[in-house]
Subunit: 182 residues, 4 copies
DNA sequence: GATGAATGAGGATTCATTCAT
DNA sequence: AATGAATGAATCCTCATTCAT
């Protein structure tokens, strides 16, 4: 991932990955079918493991808003902890659509499911509006968080992204407008 | 752009572009320094022309919320009108970061400036909250809209994206929560 | 020739020649069949005109040694007067053997004929040795003069080559050894 | 070298070299940085190895004239033994001046040093004239030998060049003129 | 299992030449 | 006659992949 993160999938040479891993070029092919497969396995790994942690984060909140806050916070935290991973994901999930389509969709769907579940709980609690289509709300939240991460990546991963959690949740929950508008 | 949109920058052959353009391979090089330059000129063109249209859209609204709605609507509309353009932008602005860094930053900055100007007006009008950092609000809106577009692209550009405008603006302005929460 | 002299035949672009000549690329092809033909015509021109001047130089001497001195002097002078011409000749007569074979052979033969004629006269005068094969003597003189010129070209055409005439002729006529050796 | 010798550097295709060497195109690039480098390494090799043999030849003579004869003889012999090598050297040392400038100069300087050393010895012995500038004599001898080789190459490497040694040395040492002239 | 030299298909780019204006 | 935009054949070089050791 360190190597992919630096120059992107296409500019990365298999020999470069081998060198970074301290093995011979040929050795790569004992563990990966081909270059594409390296990326695919990365996405596959992500898809399998990331949600346990998200689930865990949600578990630590009671109300819907708390859960949302915890989820977003953990999301930003994880991204921050593994910059290379994040960078590769942000970059290649768009570029190599066909290759990782299945994994991306799986990740995306699971994430959206988590969000919908939170929103549903909020609606049941009476703390979240019922007029807005569930799908749209979920997608919009995902987009917003993804956008924040993307912005951070494009800016060179410099600032501490977790400071964004609080105002982000505030904005998502309360909106840009003043209450009287509604 | 049609060709880039289909397979991405790296999988696109210059000869493929030439063929699609109905000219000889060499002719490409009369107008572009090299393959990279084709992409760079595309982004450069975008940077120069897109904002006139956004500006125009904003001009057609009076209140801040109206302006926001018009901007977002026009944004989604333009993306919809040129799917190839949009797809290339969404994909390659991430992938070929270094190459188009300058153009991307220009586009991003100008867009954010438009948003901040709208939010400021809203705050002056008393229709938009002052507690949230201007920068964050603007970036979040951009991220959200970008996320919607990205989602549309990943989904194959199938549904009509403009139906999203209304609930999107509602969500951004009024938030996910019910009023009493604040 | 200025252009050929700078980078050699192969690195020279027809468009570069056109630019130097102040005409359009296509115009070149009104006067030359192709790129090769430009070089061929150059050698052809040389073959046709250079010997008049050499002949003239020889005409201004009486004894064989005088004639030899005048010929060599004129040879070095002409080379010095047109550095580009000389450089192209020195370089391309070797490189593009097949292309200019005929012209080179013509030039070479005529030059050798001049030299043989001089040596014959010297032998008749009793001032030049008869033991050495005429052919070899002539070729050796040509080689030596050519070598001097080549050396001058390789060194960047800096020094005044005509100062070489006198010692060169001395060496050729009297040899490196002291008289008693014979 | 066989391939370069046939058509010259520019007309030679890397794939042609690979084919002649019985390897794949890409293999060439495991040993040479690029096409230019093949030529450069050739000249570099020459520069490193040829002088041991020349030195050896000189060592087998006692008097200056003997040493000169042995050097020239060995020079012609080596050229004859490797026609392709010789042809490439004769051709490309002129054509690709910049590329092999350093190597050429090294070869040239070392050769001239050998010659000067011989002439000095001759002058000490009293068998070689002291009036002619050392530099010029050396350069002239080099030019003459080079000229003989060049002539042989241009003529298609047909005749036995070593028969030229004796009259060449005679001419260089005793000159073209009869003794009484001095 | 690990290696890394060898492979060769593939593609960007150049530039001599043409020809409609 | 002169132009120069357009052409497309030609070739260097890269790099994913293989396989004998």
């Amino acid at each position: 991932m360190t190597v992919f993160a630096k120059e992107g999938f296409y500019k990365t040479k298999v020999s470069g990955i081998a060198k970074a891993a301290g093995v011979a070029d040929g050795t790569i092919y004992l563990y990966f079918k081909n270059k594409d497969d390296i990326l695919r396995q990365f996405f596959s790994y992500l898809a399998r493991h990331i949600f346990e942690r998200f689930q865990e984060a949600i578990g630590q909140g009671d109300t819907a808003v708390e859960k949302l806050r915890n989820l977003i916070n953990r999301h930003l935290q994880e991204c921050q902890n593994d910059k290379d991973f994040t960078r590769v994901f942000q970059t290649e999930s768009r570029q190599r659509r066909k290759l990782v389509k299945i994994e991306i969709e799986k990740i995306s769907k699971t994430y959206l499911a988590l969000l919908k579940q939170i929103i549903k709980q909020g609606q049941a609690e009476g703390t979240m509006r019922k007029e807005i289509p569930l799908d749209l709300s979920a997608r919009l939240i995902l987009s917003a968080v993804d956008g924040v991460v993307n912005n951070w990546v494009l800016g060179g991963c410099k600032y501490n992204m977790q400071t964004t959690t609080e105002p982000l949740v505030d904005l998502l929950v309360n909106g840009l407008g003043v209450g009287s508008q509604r």
